[in-house]
Amino acid sequence: MSTVETGGHGAVYDRGYRPYDGARGRRGAATFALYKASMRRALGIRRSWRQKVAPFTLLGVVTIPAIVNVGIGYVTRDQLEDRIEIITYRDYVGVSSALLLFVALVAPDVMCPDRRQRVLPLMFARPLLGTDYVAAKVGAIGSILFAFSFIPQVVLFVGNMLVSDSALDYFSGHLDVLWKVPVSVVLLALYYAVVGVAIASLTDRRIVAGAAVIGLFLITSIASGIIVGENFEIEGGSLAALINVLILPLYLRDLVFLGHVDPDSPLTGVDNGGLFAVATYVGVLVVCIGVLLRRYRWVER
């Protein structure tokens, strides 16, 4: 550092350039750095207040049912023999419009600008591979979806425990929830993160990607509904129910919670329906991850 004296009234410091001789990570560190940066972007951290509206509105919306459920339990705790539950843990691991909208907004926001603003060459000039990039992006979106689906469950569980007659009895009576909920939420979050990120990777325009995410879910949902029909509870369901990529992870949720396909689902009555649901779930993930790895196979062959 050089110093220029200024007549005894002070000094101007030219700090120059200081080499870095501390610890330095490689691929793992770069991947984690990209994961953190993507999380910050998705949550609107270090961005304007407008970018924070979507994630935290979602968190509020998905937590409301838990708060209402606990509130009703508290108000009616001395009046009723049987507890009123407006929502069960299984139902709460579900697809809300807010969650869908969040995926359609955030996945394109995390993916598209990197390609549109041509940031990718800067990233891949670092110790980072295409697989690392995909892992960081899917991990970031998946972590947020997990957190936003899991936190309300925690609120519900702790709230129910506290308003019950015996917190210990409630806890010991619901031990299965402690593994079923996290497993189901992981399956749900991973699925929507991979599908949302894969679709967003196909274009550099956020609005197109968002519309494609919503369009895919809606169109497959409508197509499946038409093919399966309305009377599936009486006439039995159909494998065509698996066309509906929107609710596909809910069949796995039912397998986790119930051990079989829900009798009220459009897959009811189908032989090995649960097995087909698992295979379709895995197939969708494999296709989407394949698309992502191909899109970010940065090094030429």
Partner: protein, 305 residues
């Protein structure tokens, strides 16, 4: 730091369908400020991609800072900084966030990356603008931000692709001054450009390529040849000098306040000096005019083809 050559390129060839971007390029480059010179499409960007390990050579091998790119591309990228020619910055983020994030992506811990981002933005003259979104930056400020993100990881070598592209004359001078300073920090620079003036001003070694082939490489000074013209600055009395030189048989012209004298050998230099002394003229400058890199490139590329 290793004292071996900066780059060792051996028989490097890169073919795309229908076009050969690099053709049997062999060159060894010392550490320092290097100019990679060539016309558009000469293979400069392909060379950068191969150095970064972002493309595989069809034939040949590349060593950067002693590391074989084919064997350890991640290790090479850990030692490099890269500033592309095109726009590549996230516009809705602040310069501090961008540079800090790229510091972390280079493997620095978060705290160190933030500290270095602050230092580097100060170094490139963006200390007061670092918390403003990049979308509001001028072209010059964006170029500086691009340079900062390349520097934040403390690279051994920094690859600059047309760093003065799109800059006004003042911005260009400031950018070149920054690039020149990098050498004093112990960072080697490989600057790809087609602006030979930039290279002549900043670089101490030049690699010239044309149509994927090596034209010539060497120290900048060694490539600049004498032209046989001496430039003499005697202030406003240049006319008197022209008359005096004509009397002793030397051809000269006065141009832009300077006198250019055609000479043959060092004896003529002595005659010029003596004429100036005899006429009692003030001698501000007496220098041999060298060829420009443009002339070297045009002549060598022409003879190669």
């Amino acid at each position: 730091m290793d004292d071996g050559p900066l780059l060792r390129i051996d028989g490097l060839t890169k073919r795309y369908p229908g076009v050969t971007a690099l053709d049997d390029l062999t060159v060894t480059v010392p550490r320092g400020r290097i100019g990679l010179v060539g016309a558009n499409g000469a293979g400069k960007t392909t060379t950068f991609r191969l150095l970064l390990g972002l493309a595989h050579p069809t034939e040949g091998r590349v060593e950067v800072c002693g590391i074989d790119v084919a064997h350890d591309p991640i290790g090479v990228r850990s030692r490099l900084g890269y500033m592309p020619e095109h726009d590549c910055l996230p516009l809705d983020q602040t310069a501090a966030d961008v540079v800090s994030t790229f510091g972390e992506l280079s493997g620095l811990p978060a705290r160190a990356a933030r500290q270095r981002a602050s230092d580097i933005l100060d170094l490139v003259g963006l200390d007061e603008a670092r918390f403003r979104p990049i979308s509001g930056f001028s072209t010059g400020m964006r170029q500086r931000t691009k340079l900062a993100q390349a520097l934040v990881g403390d690279p051994e070598l920094i690859l600059l692709d047309e760093p003065t592209a799109g800059l006004d004359p003042l911005g260009r001078e400031e950018m070149l001054a920054l690039v020149a300073r990098l050498g004093t920090f112990g960072i080697s620079v490989l600057m790809a450009t087609h602006l030979l003036d930039d290279v002549q001003q900043v670089c101490d070694y030049v690699v010239m390529i044309d149509a994927g082939k090596l034209v010539v490489s060497g120290a900048t000074d060694s490539l600049l040849e004498r032209t046989g013209i001496v430039t003499v600055d005697v202030g406003p009395r240049g006319g008197e000098l022209v008359e005096g030189l004509t009397k002793v048989g030397l051809a000269s012209i006065a141009e832009d306040g300077l006198v250019e004298v055609t000479i043959e050998g060092d004896d003529h230099m002595d005659i010029v000096r003596d004429v100036v002394a005899d006429l009692g003229l003030p001698l501000y400058r007496l220098s041999t005019r060298l060829t420009s890199l443009d002339e070297v490139f045009l002549r060598r590329a022409g003879s190669a083809s």
